[in-house]
């Protein structure tokens, strides 16, 4: 598929999720305003970090009175999963020039990555440019929404009141439906992942980011040890 078509397909498919990203961006902007950031600073942070949940956690720590170092560490902990996300993009990145690897790496987010795998699983031609197309839509929208949120902070309602906080949970459930390759392949790794995540969140005081990584890895290891799928 030509580059342009693949970019556009990725951009189109991400749209429902991008609306969610936009709403979350507004919410982050409101938080950033509480931390004393203006629209310009908020937009700059969104462009160079471009990792929504870690920005939210870091700035939430600042608003809660934590120091800058603690805020950064909390944000980094949440981003450890990106290591696994780009590790699984090796086939899409392999053999590309350095600027495309760097662009693809910076565009790596949960949503476009999950969409790409779901599209591939449905037998559609979705590779590097599909992934980047979705990422660019999220990137532009995230910067615009977070800056707008910081400027209009006082006029924006709380997302939870509108049920919007559940939007990503629902979206990931839909994406899981697309990723499911049948019980013979996925029941074991997914079951291990759910069990490890539930046990770690329920039984340990660790930050949920660690549970997420341990669970994702345990499930993948289970699939690897079985050696098929």
């Amino acid at each position: 598929m030509p580059v342009r078509n693949e970019l556009l397909a990725g951009a189109k498919d991400i749209t429902p999720l991008a609306i969610g990203v936009g709403i979350y961006g507004l919410a982050f902007g409101v938080l950033a305003a509480q931390a004393g950031m203006d629209g310009l600073h908020t937009g700059m942070m969104s462009a160079i970090v471009f990792a929504g949940s870690s920005q939210i956690v870091a700035i939430e720590r600042i608003v809660a009175g934590a120091g800058a170092g603690a805020a950064v560490i909390a944000g980094i902990a949440l981003n450890l999963r990106l290591l696994l996300i780009t590790a699984s993009l090796r086939d899409q990145f392999r053999g590309r020039p350095a600027w495309q690897v760097a662009l693809g790496a910076h565009m790596a987010a949960d949503e476009n990555w999950a969409m790409m795998h779901a599209a591939q699983n449905a037998g559609r031609p979705a590779g590097y440019w599909y992934f980047v197309g979705g990422g660019l839509v999220q990137f532009v929208l995230w910067i615009a929404a977070t800056a707008t949120g910081a400027v209009l902070a006082s006029a924006i309602p709380e997302p939870r009141a509108l049920g919007i906080d559940f939007a990503f949970a629902a979206a990931f459930i839909a994406i899981l439906r697309g990723l499911w390759r049948g019980a013979a392949i996925d029941l074991l790794p997914w079951g291990v992942s759910v069990a490890v995540a539930a046990a770690m969140v329920g039984l340990t005081p660790l930050d949920p980011s660690w549970s997420l990584i341990a669970a994702g890895l345990s499930g993948a290891v289970a699939a690897g040890l079985r050696g098929r799928g």
Binding site: L89, A171, A223
Partner: protein, 99 residues
């Protein structure tokens, strides 16, 4: 927040985040492309997202669990992302109101 703090947080978070993004790829590239390793990599998207949903739901309560069931049912029948999101948001508003 002071301007110096803003730049410290933004630049260190950006540097660490980009290192993780690039580092993951460099790490993944060095691992074998067949057999057990390949099976593990193919399983990763599903195992991470199913863990993410588990963590989100464990922080929620009965309203979120019920809304997740509605979302799963709609996803199973429709296989549509926007429909599942609308159903999930609608369900969580309804169940939170009832709870």
């Amino acid at each position: 927040m002071a301007v110096a703090d803003f730049w410290f947080i933004t630049l260190s978070l950006a540097a660490a985040t980009f290192s993780l993004r690039l580092g993951g790829y460099l790490l993944g590239r060095r691992l074998p492309a067949h057999g057990g390793w390949a099976a593990a990599f193919r399983a990763l998207p599903g195992t991470i997202i199913v863990a993410l949903v588990t963590v989100i739901l464990m922080r929620g309560g009965p309203a979120e669990w019920a809304a997740a069931l509605v979302s799963a049912a709609v996803a199973g029948v429709s296989r549509s992302l926007p429909l599942t999101m609308i159903a999930g948001i609608g369900a969580v508003v309804l169940f939170r109101h009832l709870a």
